[in-house]
Amino acid sequence: MVRAAADRTFLPVKNFLEEVGDMMILTGKTISSALRPPYPYGGEFVQQFLFTFRLCWFPLLISTVAFGYAAPGLQAGNFLVLFGALDRLGGFFVLASIREFSPFVCAIVLAGVAGTAITADLGARKIRDELDALQVLGVDPVKNLVVPRFLALMIATGLFNIYALLFGIFGGMVASLTFNAPLGPFFATLLNNASIPDLWGSVIKTTLFGAIIAIVCCYKGMTASGGAEGVGRAVNSAVVIAFLGIFAFNYAFTQVLLATHPEISILK
């Protein structure tokens, strides 16, 4: 009786911890086999990289323009209009777009679009026993499948962050224009407030988001099981874990960046 109750409570916790541990092991394996020669993953890397680009550019464009226009653009713009200080909207966009929302919208879209595609692809190979076949042929699935996806997604997320950032600021421009304000002051305060730590913080953050997405999605794809429902379930749990991981990491990273670089939060 007690045993059953304890099992019911702690079994999910135990499973969760085991899964996190497995993902950490996969991360370690991926990094070590990425660095150790030989390097057979060049072609797959380029293919995955282009695949990610082809899949993500359009959803990301709509998402960042919509988010940038509405959340920081209209809401903050409305607030600043009350004080007659709409030119400060550009300065606010450094905080809003560069530091927060471009990285996380970028990560959400990459996880939802490229990450789910990776899980569906690897999961399909897993349940058709193709991964086992690879191993029988002496081809290491981690080196040939996970490493190229890991590197491609890391670099693609980092680059897409710049793209998201530009379109986020475009959304801010549109918001500024809807208040009938000239764009000169917007860009003046934007460029005055933008600093190098903001930019590299943003790029490093998204690169690490890419690593989280790639590991979670590859792990879930490679451990898919259970026939017809298995692949769908794998995609489902991959995207949930990736979202929670991204936002938990985002909170820790933002806190560390703001606390260690007090100069970036000074308004100029």
């Binding site: 959340a71 209009v81 939802g112 679009v113 789910t116 809807t178 949930v240 985002n250 909170y251």
Partner: protein, 265 residues
């Protein structure tokens, strides 16, 4: 030429299919036909509450923390740390919690529906239902839609609570530049029940679109186990775009022309 136009044609025909499908499902729910399976709808509500509420609230909590620290640092830099409450109130209620709700719903509930119903479709369970004389549209899609209508308003209110609590923790307990009373004075001053209603409308429109998209991709899945995985991934793409578009339209509609702030004029 045709290769350029093909994706567009395809997009238009999928859109038409989705609209038709949504019309049928909503007809089942609001026409009352779904109430013959009310027990199943309640069971689905239970599945939603037990399976999804906790992750939705935890995402709202994490994003509330992020809003809180950004607000606290931003207001410190403007020299008015006591006004962190404004940032937290607007960021939480109007933008971030609806978005976090939409994100987690499309990730957890949307893809979950595709995986579940898609698996039923490719193992011919949906056809088996029809053979037994049960309308699969009503039994599978209608009941899930009704369950979503029953459960999500309350789950969303819970996630607002989680986000508010997290922002309070971040601003008052963690950064600690404003007292609890001072924070709450400003925090509650900059919102009112109408804002809450707008926020609920925004989030629930996201929720219903996500459930409908999930049901559509699940119900029309094909192509074996691999097809279910692909349909799951596709539904996620469409859901993310729709969440952002609805978020933007909601903001434009509710707060675009009127900031609804207790200052200025």
């Amino acid at each position: 030429m045709s290769s350029i136009l093909d994706p567009i044609k395809n997009a238009i025909s999928v859109t038409g299919d989705i609209v038709k499908f949504c019309g049928t499902v909503l007809g089942q729910v609001f026409g009352g036909r779904v109430f013959q399976f009310f027990g199943e709808a309640l069971r689905q509500s239970g599945v939603l509450i037990l399976g999804s509420a906790l992750v939705i609230w935890s995402l709202a909590f994490i994003l509330g923390l992020t809003c809180g620290i950004e607000g606290a640092y931003f207001n410190r830099s403007t020299g008015a740390p006591a006004f962190s409450g404004v940032f937290a109130a607007w960021c939480d209620l109007r933008e971030i919690i609806p978005y976090s709700f939409g994100y987690m719903l499309s990730a957890k509930v949307g893809t979950g529906l595709v995986a579940e119903i898609g698996a039923m479709r490719i193992t011919d369970e949906v056809d088996a239902l029809e053979v037994m004389g049960i309308s699969s549209m009503t039994f599978l899609c209608g009941t899930r839609m009704l369950a979503a209508l029953l459960v999500f308003p309350f789950v969303y209110l819970g996630s607002i609570g989680a986000g508010y609590y997290a922002s309070y923790l971040a601003v008052v307990q963690q950064i600690g530049e404003v007292s609890s009373g001072g924070y709450f004075l400003i925090f509650w001053m900059f919102q009112n029940p109408t804002d809450l209603l707008f926020s609920v409308i925004k989030a629930l429109s996201m929720a219903f679109v996500i459930v409908l998209v999930g049901l559509y991709y699940g119900y029309t899945a094909g192509g074996g186990p691999v097809g279910v995985g692909t349909a799951t991934a596709k539904s996620m793409v469409l859901n993310l775009v729709l969440v952002h578009v609805i978020g933007m339209l909601g903001t434009q509609l509710f707060w675009g022309a009127n900031p609804r702030a207790p200052i200025g004029g």
